[in-house]
């Protein structure tokens, strides 16, 4: 016969303080665990949102990010001769040739950080429909003007509409502010590609080339055509979404490895906390356990009851921790993405996977923490237990 769940739950309520402390311990661990996962997921999500699935981005094969990629003019012309590139209404291919650099700006409050400045050609806005102007006006092609992503506008001093940013021996006026659907473009400044090339004296050496394919399925054919061209063997086409997703790899990995290493270690602390509590529960209820056994409950039922009690404890803690960490979703944080060498704003992002892993993690703490005390309880001899020994 099974011991009713109600009995198990009531036991937790009886020792409010001890139960509360153990729950708090598990909650703290799960809070940190899920926060780390959410942060890593947030970086990933932001960069995935950046790239389109039917755009192709071409960069230098060995480059880690757009700023260390260089594509010279000849190569650009060769790329444009490839088949499957979509053409716009004017018959021109939908291609944006983009020089990407980073400049230093002062953060509001304290410190300096790197901010990406991306030069774009007109088709860039057709390629990235998520980018829309929300304030001011578009920069004029042919003039030294910039539009600013909302994450940079809100975090950096002197990056507001009407401000002038000084670099490359010239003054660049910020004339508009854009939103980019919480993607990495939110953390960039955009201007006319030709103006930037000119100012930085780069001739026609761009960093990356983004183009639209006639059909998204054409990527493999395009890739084959690309690879067949000997003169392009130092370059590499990638689906834009995949490219930006890969840009999140290092930062996500760094956060996850560090965070998970830490949480696993101190989950051991919380597990020990659960063990202590469960031991005390067993010790305090020796007579009660004896009574249960005398009433005919089997050893297995007692074992299950204590294990369930421990799991319940851990799950309550885990849920509490998750509730706390889900509040983090309202915060957006900004840090340097090592791969793009520039500031990237992202938020803590919850996903079903994060919830599941956190709860499983809590459950594991409960099972491991409760196992030995539960075995101990199940092994008690009825006579001794009734005597309260």
């Amino acid at each position: 016969m099974k011991i009713p769940l109600k009995y198990i739950a009531r036991n937790l309520v009886t020792r409010k303080l001890t139960t509360g402390i153990t729950v708090a311990g598990v909650a703290l661990v799960v809070f940190v665990f899920s926060a780390v996962l959410m942060l890593a997921h947030g970086v990933h999500q932001t960069l995935v949102a950046t790239g389109g699935t039917d755009n192709v981005i071409i960069t230098r094969k060995s480059s880690n990010g757009e700023i260390s990629s260089i594509i010279d003019g000849d190569t650009q012309s060769i790329i444009l001769t490839l088949p499957y590139i979509a053409k716009g209404a004017n018959g021109q291919p939908i291609v944006s040739r983009e020089p990407v650099v980073v400049i230093n700006l002062n953060k509001i409050g304290d410190g300096v950080s790197n901010v990406t400045v991306r030069g774009v050609s007109e088709p860039a806005f057709a390629l990235r429909p998520q980018v829309r102007l929300v304030e001011g006006r578009m920069f004029a092609f042919g003039s030294r003007e910039l539009i600013v992503g909302q994450a940079i506008e809100s975090r950096f001093a002197g990056a507001q509409i009407g401000d002038v940013v000084k670099f490359a021996g010239d003054q660049w006026k910020i004339v508009g502010k854009f939103e980019a659907g919480k993607s990495a473009f939110d953390s960039e400044l955009w201007g006319d590609a030709l103006q930037l090339l000119n100012a930085f004296n780069r001739g026609n050496s761009i960093s990356s080339m983004t183009l639209k394919l006639e059909r998204p399925e054409a990527f493999e054919s395009f890739q084959r055509a690309f690879e067949a061209e000997q003169r392009l063997n130092q370059f590499e086409p990638k689906v834009e979404r995949k490219y930006f997703e890969e840009q999140s790899e290092f930062l996500s990995l760094f956060i996850s490895v560090l965070g998970i290493f830490v949480t696993v270690i101190f989950s051991a602390g919380a597990t020990i906390g659960a063990t202590i509590t469960m031991y005390a529960a067993v010790a305090n209820r020796t007579v009660e356990i004896g009574t249960l056994r005398a009433l005919g409950f089997r050893r297995r039922s007692v074992l299950t009851a204590f294990l369930l009690e421990s799991c319940l404890l851990a799950l309550v803690g885990g849920t509490l921790g998750l509730v706390l960490s889900s509040l983090l979703q309202f915060f957006r944080v900004s840090t340097l993405n090592f791969q793009s060498f520039a500031e990237l704003e992202f938020s803590f992002a919850l996903s079903p996977q994060v919830i599941l892993s956190s709860l499983l993690f809590a459950l594991a703490m409960g099972i491991i923490g409760g196992f030995i005390p539960a075995v101990h309880a199940a092994r008690l001899k009825i006579v001794n237990a009734l005597r309260g020994a």
């Binding site: 153990t22 708090a24 060995s62 880690n64 230093n104 830490v262 202590i276 031991y279």
Partner: protein, 386 residues
């Protein structure tokens, strides 16, 4: 004397519980010490910086180069002892996940400006003689098994093409605060090849390292340098090496801030583990304390006992946790690529901090049960059934 014996006896009355509690505290102390180590490792570049070195780079941002011609102008300034320079090479070794610093440096001056990179004179001489020679750090050599005479192939990104360098020297970091994972080769070699392949980018320098006579003059010299190039195509920003490194370290402040925060959460967890044990112990002994009071022992006496017990447990926890920290740090080093944290060791102050945190928690955890034991009237205590 008697109270001391009673306290220690009490602390280990529930042997299993005490052992578990001590283990819990030890683990938390370890995690705390480990996280502090991560934070100090992150700022290691700042700590290792020298007061008599300035870094001059382009004002727009670090990725833009400076003209090679600036060198002579800087060298002529008063209080400047010598000028060296370097370029970030980047590139790929084997595959993109093999990350370590690869830099083109001025072979003649770089090791004079950075005396903390120690190298055998004959290896240095050999390096200087050979165009495509390189010098690698001892930690890097160990990680990849580089030996003198080995060839290191790199695929360039900032400097496109295939590059090969011969290992002619292995530098030893002066002490454990110095990065031993860098690969350094001749700037002249890089420049020659760039001049042939893309002439427009030749004679460019990533940053200058300016050695000055008197650290007190660093601000003055910095202003002098920047004034030289004001309103030129490549304006400069000069700062002390320390400020420069600080800027780098700060770029990851969200992550490091998070780690800092977690290390305090851990102190909270130690508190919960120990607090829980103390509350349970004191609760179980409610009747016993009432008997003590009946016998004439003061409430203060009982409180002292509880306080002492908590302290005993936390001292044991700290004593086990501190050596564990060393083990954990070693394990982490095996676990992550060396280049993530080139300098990674436990600072002495970390031990002190971790032990102090444990003791403070010992004090805090005792407060609640102490108060409860002191306040419970004798009659109620005697009636207590648990």
């Amino acid at each position: 004397m008697r109270i001391l014996r009673l306290t220690i006896r009490n602390a280990f009355r529930h042997r299993l519980r005490s052992v578990l509690t001590i283990a819990g505290i030890a683990i938390a102390v370890t995690a705390f010490g480990f996280l502090r180590t991560v934070v100090t490792a992150w700022y290691s570049g700042v700590e290792a910086s020298s007061a008599n070195r300035l870094i001059t780079r382009q004002a727009i941002s670090f990725i833009f180069p400076l003209p090679y011609a600036d060198k002579e102008q800087i060298a002529r300034l008063p209080n400047v002892r010598s000028v060296s320079w370097a370029n970030w090479f980047g590139g790929v070794y084997k595959d993109k996940s093999q990350f370590f610093a690869r830099m083109a440096v001025d072979g003649d001056t770089y090791f004079d400006v950075y005396p903390e990179f120690q190298i055998e004179p004959d290896q240095l001489a050999q390096f200087k003689r050979e165009r495509n020679a390189c010098i690698v750090g001892a930690d890097l050599a160990q990680q990849y098994g580089f030996k003198l005479g080995d060839i290191i192939p790199l695929d360039g990104d900032i400097y496109p093409g295939h590059w090969e360098f011969v290992v002619r020297g292995i530098y030893r970091p002066r002490d454990k605060t110095i990065d031993g994972t860098q690969m350094l080769f001749h700037w002249d070699y890089l420049n020659e090849r760039i001049r042939q392949e893309s002439p427009g980018r030749a004679d460019e320098v990533g940053w200058y390292i300016v050695k000055i006579d008197d650290p007190a003059r660093s601000a003055e010299v910095s202003d002098h340098i920047d004034a030289l190039f004001a309103n030129s195509r490549a304006e400069t920003k000069t700062e002390t090496e320390r400020a420069f490194q600080q800027g780098f370290a700060q770029s990851g402040n969200v992550i490091i801030g998070g780690i800092n925060f977690i290390s305090f959460v851990i102190v909270g967890i130690i508190m919960l583990v120990l607090g829980n044990t103390m509350i349970m112990s004191a609760r179980e002994r409610t009747r016993e304390y009432a008997v003590f009071k009946t016998l004439g022992f003061s409430a203060k006496y009982i409180a002292t006992m509880i306080f002492g017990e908590s302290l005993v447990l936390s001292i044991f926890g700290a004593a086990f946790g501190v050596p564990l920290t060393i083990g954990l740090v070693k394990m982490f080093e095996q676990f992550v690529p060396k280049a993530w944290f080139p300098v990674f060791y436990v600072e002495p102050v970390t031990y002190v901090l971790a032990a102090t945190a444990a003791l403070l928690v010992g004090v805090a955890a005792a407060l609640f049960p102490m108060q409860r034991a002191m306040r419970t009237p004798i009659v109620e205590g005697l009636r207590f059934i648990g």
